[in-house]
Amino acid sequence: MKKYLLPLLLFITFHSLAQEVGLRHRRSWYLPDHLKLQFAGNIGFLSGGPGYVSRNQTLETDLLFGFLPQKYGGDALVTTTLKTTYSPWRIGLKNDYYIRPFLIGAYLSYTFGPQFDTKWPSYYPAGYYWWATSFRPGAYLGGKAGRNVVMNNRRRSLEVYYELGTYDLLIISYVQNKSFLKLHDIVSLSLGVKLGFN
């Protein structure tokens, strides 16, 4: 066994090195392109998870796992979120810095708990409540700034972003009550960081 082990290790090391030589599409397709960590935004106090980016780097899709501790939310809530963000313009700056001044996106979140319903129980007539309380669709605008770096001989990027978002139930409330509600009443801020692997 031992005599096979060293060549095997060497092969694995060499193989993985060969994969890393600046060729991002040689990464296995299923490995995430980036990781994100987000603060606020109605999907948890903190949420984080992997994501993928389109080849031209303008479209990102993330799967985030969020948690809201009781201390900050009055109730401890666990949420999973699928979000897609489009940022069409990239402006390169000095020293590998860049900004993507505009981003727009949408998400669908699911909050776990017996008090939240996806399909209302049979003791409600059909359409009694028209919305699901577990799923929440939302949308946001924002921007981000980043820098390409080399870490351990590998290309990486670090980005920070902000998003101003709202969700379906607040949008409906706003549209029907434009005298009492102002836009800032239904919009909230979220902040995040992204570590890109290519």
């Binding site: 809201l68 939310g73 009055g74 109730d75 309380t133 009492f180 009443d185 909230s188």
Partner: protein
Amino acid sequence: MLTSCDDLFQYNPNEETLLDKDKNLTARNIEKISRLPVSDTTRFILMGDSQRWYDECEEFVRSANQQKDISFVLHAGDISDFGLTQEFKWVNEIMTRLKYPYVTVIGNHDIVANGSATYRKMFGPLNYSFGFGHDRFIFINTNSREYAFDGSVPDISWLKAQLADNPDKRNTIVVGHVPPFDADFDKNLEKPYTDALASDPTVKFTLYGHQHRFYEGQFYDDGVNYHLTTSMGARGYMVISTWKGGYNVERVEF
């Protein structure tokens, strides 16, 4: 501006985050009511179903503030539409512009998602009572459908105990959201509930919301008058006057 900073970051639509000024409102408003002067006639307003009608609710407040000799306002439930804390806060912000204190009874929409937990923190118990002048008000959760008609809501034994606890024989006014003849009220509890009211001679009338229309009648031929107020969306409320042995209901549209 204070409210917008308070809500700059939001963590979940169902979070139950409240500032101290938004907590324990029922007890605080009853305390304000208890300090009001008492006269032979008490005048108060019954309104309800403010759910997602904030603009109309603001107009209600302007109209209510022009009424004469009002002591307090009763909100007949469905404060919120989606059971969100944010909605409860918005309605409270509007209702605190009233010149009078207000108290609430919980509606079916206020129980959705984390709504009843937020209601408890923000207002207080789901069943409660207080006395003022010649009257005693009993607020009871009648939203049976939200509890799958499991027989627990409305709490008949609690109601009977409250009715029995009336040594001064004051007028008793029971306030709920869903009236007992509505499909959302537990059919098995309809008769025990209406019998409990009818067997108490101090109960002359009882107040509800929920159906978004003015409606009244002695539906059970038992001497008890049922009055429903309409929604904020339908721009109406009631001014009620009570005195020893009598009362009057006036409909107002705004």
